[in-house]
Symmetry: C2
Subunit: 224 residues, 2 copies
């Protein structure tokens, strides 16, 4: 019985890592669809998002069932509460990836991203996808050294968002619709970075026992 329970806990972690892998694929495809104006790929990302949502529903049901059946305390209880929070973050990261694809679809056949910002958006896409991948490794292996890299990726995403916003504010020749789309796009990537940080801080919380929520909730209140 105890052994079955430990294996259930292990499955929770595996499910979170699987969800992260689905999010990473959605995010990478969304960035490709955006930069290559690939409408078919954008549609596939949008169509795939409900699968990520379903995984969250399944995972949450498992957690509630485990809470009811096992009445965990201490570390196990904290893992389950953290897993509930992490599944929410991952589900939201799936939504944000779908939003990027929706932006690509809305402006099609015009490219959403003006030529002079392509490289920066490609870089935001890479940073966000790397953050998702590294967060998954942190969840699987509780490697807090890697967690610091996710925080660093997030800082770079914040800085790129500010840089692009400043450049857009100064530049000429963009249509208003392009400015609206670019503003939302860079926000979506920046929020993906915030959620990746939230994931690794929850793992840090499990490992160290410190409360992470105050730090975590501060992530998104900054100047932009």
């Amino acid at each position: 019985m105890r052994e079955a329970y430990q294996s259930d806990l292990r499955y929770l972690v595996d499910d979170l890592v699987d969800m992260a892998s689905m999010v990473r694929t959605a995010l990478e495809d969304a960035t490709t669809a955006l930069l290559e104006s690939d409408l078919g790929l954008a549609e596939r990302v949008i169509a795939a998002d409900p699968h990520i949502d379903e995984r969250q529903v399944d995972l949450d049901s498992k957690i509630v069932e485990l809470l009811a059946r096992q009445s965990p305390v201490a570390t196990d209880l904290r893992l389950m509460v953290a897993a509930l929070r992490m599944s929410s973050s991952l589900e939201r990261m799936g939504d944000l990836s779908a939003h990027i694809a929706l932006t690509a679809r809305r402006s099609h056949p015009e490219p959403t991203v003006p030529a002079q910002h392509r490289e920066q958006i490609a870089r935001m896409g890479e940073l966000a996808a790397t953050a998702v991948h590294e967060a998954a490794v942190v969840i699987a292996e509780r490697d807090l050294a890697l967690a610091a890299r996710v925080e660093n990726n997030d800082s770079q995403l914040d800085e790129l968002q500010r840089e692009i916003a400043r450049e857009i504010a100064r530049s000429e020749g963009f249509s208003n619709a392009q400015i609206v789309d670019m503003t939302l796009l860079i926000r979506f990537y920046e929020r993906l970075g915030d959620h990746a940080v939230s994931l690794v801080r929850r793992v840090g919380f499990l490992v160290t026992g410190d409360s992470v929520d105050t730090l975590n909730s501060a992530t998104d209140v900054d100047e932009f």
Copy 2:
């Protein structure tokens, strides 16, 4: 002992309602600061956000303690899991209100909102504040008839966001920075509506026993 436990559960609901009241104040003040270019008020909203964050941390600690001490099952367990989710939504709604205040501070002394959009933004502010207030009543009284009004407020917020975005895309004479700020602002209000819907759907889930998560996660994937 059983009586003390019931009273703990009652406190959870009271705490959620208190948090909602703090969010409503922050949101109303942020809208006023924005529309009246009131820098002092914007600063107060920004400075108050950590108090909402602290309330979330306190509430979550209480829930984890209750889970450990009482090993709840069935309805009580579902209430606690829902309360964890609702405290996250409320904390995020506090962040979004602070974001509105940050936008007002960033453009000060220039008004963030161009004259022709003042009425629409005032309306978004009212709709969002009403949604927060009504969500709090739904949490306190489990009044699902009122939940339908929160959903309706959210639809109106979505429609206003689309309407303003369309108008901005067509209009002339706005600076790029104004377009960036307006795009973010209308997104913040729209997200506040989504979170209010998420709150009342969780209450619906508690009352009816239906799973709400699939519906809920779909809230934000739409055309804008």
